[in-house]
Symmetry: C2
Subunit: 238 residues, 2 copies
DNA sequence: CTGTATCCATGGCGATACTG
DNA sequence: CAGTATCGCCATGGATACAG
């Protein structure tokens, strides 16, 4: 058990299960479709496998998820109890996107972004024929700078090395800008206007690209009118 | 900062602020009307004042609350940002009451229960004249066994020693049963039928008492049809 | 009443390496 | 691929006493 609170209040009882570090991020991953240990690791790459394993066990004991073997492969799936955490995770996400907007450089991660991008690509908006868009992030180390998204039919592939196909559109931007766009902090139009993104493609393709690249489901949560109170700067010592 | 996750995901950013132990319970207290340091302490009695102070400071920095002085007395109040955590707290409470129902003896606390009771007494259901109901918990140490709820007009008082007024109804039950009733885990009618509660009062008063004693706002959250999966028993070692 | 100051033990968690 | 095994640090937070 995560430590107890000694309170009968349902919020306290819920937090006994959920307030440990990483726990709700694992639930988030399961809610968005991850099933295997390796999928989960990709979703929480900064977590050690030992700790991930421990959390999964604890969540199993709490009745949130179930570990089953499917075709000889372990699969983690949410129980009804776990499914119902969607309300909690959604509420947290909506609050977070509204009130905790400042992203530090440590929060940016090209692998995570491309993984999220892959999960939210609206394939139906893409041409039926195989279509390739390349991403170049100008502000990060060469290793993770270039990516290719290949959509053919209903299949989406994200590669970190050139798959060799013809490229229909080349996006060039910073990791930060692409992240902001995906989160819905910044509109495509705004980014293009300010030249934070360049789209190298025939005019009609260039116009379509923003509809090809998806966004977080939280992107359309309306933002507070006043900007943040104080992000982390100021508010010094008392 | 509570440790960071290194993720741009809004859920992760939210949890950086909220996943530390006690944090959301403090928010819960503020949401239910506590304003002063001592009120908050009463709501989270197992927390040391040092730690409470630390959390309040962190929440202030995060923009969730504001510390102001009102008539020379410090007051903690939620900002818009903090107010909006109501959605999160409600979702957690609803999930908790449905899926984390097993209460250990450590979770029962007469002071907390009476404090909650006081906050949820539906004064409008009581007679206008001063009315007194006594509570006796048969299963706990003498010190916290007897309580008196005094309602006169719109004022509610809860005493742990005899205020000396005539008593209109005497409830005798266990702390556990009363807690279950307040949470909505057990219906009044059921408790009475099973003789888990006795109401010593004239017949019409006895009938009214269940409408006098309030319940958690989460009490009417429907419970899952199947009982819990596994509370904490079983699910042994792997 | 509204906090601070200190002290200490625990265990959480990060890092790394390794196994079936 | 799906985890386990170890190890060691340091921060968390519980307890207690004290101050303005």
């Amino acid at each position: 058990m995560g430590s107890t609170y000694g309170q009968f209040c349902p919020v306290a009882k819920a937090m006994e299960v959920l307030d440990e570090r990483w726990t709700l991020l694992i639930v988030r991953e399961l809610l968005s479709g991850s099933q295997h240990f390796s999928d989960l690791r990709r979703g929480v790459p900064k977590m050690s496998p030992t700790l991930l394993s421990k959390r999964l066990r604890r969540l199993e004991r709490a009745g949130v998820l179930r570990r089953v073997s499917r075709r000889g492969r372990p699969v983690y799936e949410l129980t009804d109890c776990g499914e119902e955490l969607r309300g909690v995770v959604d509420a947290l996400g909506a609050w977070g996107v509204r009130w905790v907007g400042e992203l530090g450089d440590e929060d940016l991660d090209p692998h995570l972004l491309m993984w999220d991008l892959k999960r939210t690509i609206p394939v139906r908006s893409w041409p039926r024929r195989r279509t390739v868009v390349s991403f170049t992030y100008t502000d990060i180390e060469p290793r993770a700078r270039r990516w290719w998204v290949v959509v053919s039919g209903d299949d989406v592939d994200v590669c970190d090395e050139d798959p060799g196909y013809d490229v229909d559109a080349r996006l060039t931007t910073t990791l930060r800008t692409m992240t902001e766009i995906w989160r819905g902090d910044r509109a495509w139009a705004d980014a293009v206007r300010r030249s934070l993104v360049t789209v190298d493609a025939p005019r009609d393709v260039a116009r379509a690209v923003p509809t090809w690249v998806g966004q977080s489901t939280l992107a359309r949560v309306p933002r507070p009118e006043r900007p943040q109170p104080l992000p982390t700067s100021q508010a010094g010592v008392r």
